[in-house]
């Protein structure tokens, strides 16, 4: 039994959409991920994978249960406190890259740092360049997102998610729009981040082959953890 505080934990987490016939998205899920662990959440469409991820990422509020990040229960936090926690401790990568079209690659990567405001402009610039270099995007700094390929855009999105050095990276089908080669590249990056940098990475994926390369798989069906 691991006695160390988990990087992120869900206790009896449920999310039910109200309505004439309430829709149960997540149903009493208990989940934990340790520091440096790469976890794949798998399941059929509509099984509640993304819903669970959004709850873990404090993007959605649970109907019941709680999310605990580095030992801190997020249930009693205000909206502003949850937002700040996302800024400081969580990084997101989605199926669609969501890069801001008007800003350069470096501008996109530096955006979370600018919001957090802990580094000077020069430090932000240097850190952004270092991240891009680490992800094989050196020389792309001044390009606009529209000038990049799908795989490159997703790597920029990963760099942006890592900008504030969050302990936890949450990825929702990050390879959903990528070919197999780029998908492997993205998962290689995830493995390196987990192994070499101690990041906790939770990724939703449909791809069983990629899921098998993760440290652990959590399988969902009808909003419940089944394996």
């Amino acid at each position: 039994m691991n006695l160390e505080t988990p990087a992120i934990e869900a206790r009896s987490l449920s999310r039910i959409l109200p309505g004439l016939v309430p829709a149960v998205l997540v149903d009493g899920v208990d989940f934990r991920a340790e520091k440096g662990e790469l976890v794949a959440i798998t399941g059929a469409s509509g099984s509640g994978k993304s819903s669970l991820l959004y709850l873990l990422g404090l993007l959605d509020e649970p109907t019941s249960g709680s999310v605990i990040i580095a030992g801190q229960d997020c249930a009693p936090l205000s909206d502003a406190e949850r937002t700040y926690l996302r800024l400081e401790r969580l990084g997101f990568v989605f199926q669609f890259h969501f890069l801001l079209a008007e800003f350069t690659v470096l501008g996109n990567v530096c955006m979370p740092m600018k919001k957090l405001g802990r580094l000077s402009d020069a430090e932000q610039d240097a850190h952004g360049r270092a991240l891009l270099k680490e992800l094989g995007l050196q020389g792309f700094e001044k390009k606009l997102p529209e000038q990049l390929s799908g795989g490159e855009r997703q790597r920029v999105a990963i760099a942006r998610a890592l900008a504030n050095a969050p302990g936890i990276l949450l990825a929702d089908e990050p390879t959903g729009n990528l070919d197999s080669k780029n998908s492997r590249i993205v998962f290689d990056i995830f493995r390196n981040l987990a192994r070499d940098h101690g990041k906790t990475i939770i990724t939703v994926t449909h791809d069983h082959d990629l899921a098998k390369t993760c440290d652990r798989q959590v399988h969902l069906a009808d909003g419940k953890v089944v394996a």
Partner: protein, 415 residues
């Protein structure tokens, strides 16, 4: 704030044409409002300046506003008293003890007094009879209390009245009606039947048509002889160093001496009221222009919000608060308003320059040779502030909508 400004500018620069069109809408509103305000204020100021410069600031007349109270009225002030068959006493018109009053007025700081006998006369020349107002004046006091000397277009000024036995200075319009020239001798007939030969010794031109076409000046003594009212004056025309204090001073003089004391504001009450209505109409029109421009901004910001739903979602997931998102879009509206206002300032300045160059000659109440413009920083500041404020308000609804977007809904939809 810097980051929000950075993002807002990024959004606006990404759709340059749309932004420019909205800015031009604001610029047009601001530009035309500045030009219109300059035009209105210019003509108003010109008119008031002409009135203030050419007309006395206070006129004390040998009249009373109300009939004097009868002894029975004074005795039963609250009684239901009605007097019938009252016959007015024939009193000699004119201001009583005028020179004592003039002395008292001249002792007050900033006041110059021109004692005058104003009477209606007929001027005959070359078979033409024209009715005119004759002002009998004291040259030295007239010079100090009025600006008529500057309006005399012939040689000699007011002193020319001393160059002939019965000198007369005519308004240029009046001279034109009579067909008279300087040095011509006219026949003047007063209401009391006195006839006097008078020589035209000068012409004046104030630019106020009603004055130029009906007024004439003679020495006070001559006017008194012509009117058969020796030693009488019926007007005291007062010039003040502070014309805006005329209302209070007139009230004070009237309460002291009882004679009707009319300030220039009271004499021109109708016109000043018309100016106020005209200004209100102008500001309503200009506001309407700016409101229409605001709809353009509402449209732009709404479109940006619609197009940027995904960006809003990622910014929210990244850690931007709803107030940040609202701030971005409010800034966009404000920037369009501000930049539009700056463009509008340039446009307004240019329009004023062009309008200032237009020349025409229209004779209305005053003679006008072109548009008289008066721009002040207030016009620029006010129109700019209204534009920036209305633009920011116009972007409020879309900004609020943006701040309320739930990132999860967008992210699910985008997958």
């Amino acid at each position: 704030m810097k980051l929000l400004l950075h993002i807002a500018l990024g959004h606006l620069l990404a759709r340059k044409r749309q932004t420019l069109v909205s800015m031009m809408g604001v610029a047009m509103g601001v530009g035309f409002s500045i030009a219109m305000a300059s035009l209105m204020e210019g003509s108003q100021r010109d008119f008031i300046t002409r009135i203030v410069d050419n007309m006395p600031h206070i006129v004390i007349k040998d009249e009373f506003r109300a009939n004097p109270l009868q002894p029975v009225d004074l005795l039963f002030q609250k009684g239901a008293v009605e007097l019938k068959g009252l016959k007015p006493k024939d009193e000699i018109r004119g201001i009583k003890a005028p020179w004592n009053k003039i002395e008292a007025l001249e002792a007050l700081p900033g006041l110059k007094v021109a004692p005058t006998l104003s009477s209606q006369i007929f001027l005959s020349f070359g078979g033409k009879d024209v009715s005119a107002t004759l002002l009998g004046i004291d040259v030295e006091r007239e010079r100090q209390a009025t600006s008529i000397e500057a309006d005399i277009v012939t040689e000699g000024g007011l002193d020319s009245l001393h160059t002939a036995a019965n000198g007369l200075i005519l308004g240029r319009g009046l001279a034109a009606k009579l067909g008279a020239q300087p040095n011509d001798t006219l026949t003047a007939t007063s209401a009391s039947g006195v006839v006097m030969k008078m020589k035209v010794v000068g012409l004046f031109h104030t630019g106020i048509i009603s004055v130029d076409s009906s007024q004439s000046y003679a020495l006070l003594k001559k006017a008194q002889i012509l009117a058969d009212r020796p030693n009488v004056i019926n007007l005291m025309r007062i010039k003040m160093s502070d014309p805006m204090a005329a209302v209070d001073m007139a009230l004070m003089l009237e309460s002291r001496w009882g004679y009707k004391s009319e300030s220039w504001q009271e004499s021109n009450e109708g016109l000043l009221g018309a100016f106020a209505i005209r200004n209100a109409v102008m500001y309503i029109t200009v506001s309407a222009i700016l409101i229409v421009a605001s709809f353009g901004i509402f449209n732009v910001v709404s479109t940006v919000v619609y197009e940027k739903t995904r960006d809003i979602a990622i910014l929210r997931s990244m850690g931007f608060e709803p107030s940040d998102i609202k701030g971005i879009f409010l800034l966009e509206g404000f920037l369009v308003g501000l930049l539009g206002a700056l463009l509008g300032w340039g446009l307004g300045f240019g329009l004023c320059q062009i309008l200032g160059m237009i020349r025409f000659n229209i004779k209305m109440m005053t003679e006008v040779q072109g548009f008289i413009l008066h721009s002040t920083w207030i016009h620029y500041t006010l129109s700019g502030a209204v534009a920036a404020t209305s633009a920011t308000l116009a972007s409020y609804l879309p900004a609020r909508k943006a701040s309320r977007l739930k990132p999860v809904d967008t992210i699910r939809g985008a997958a």
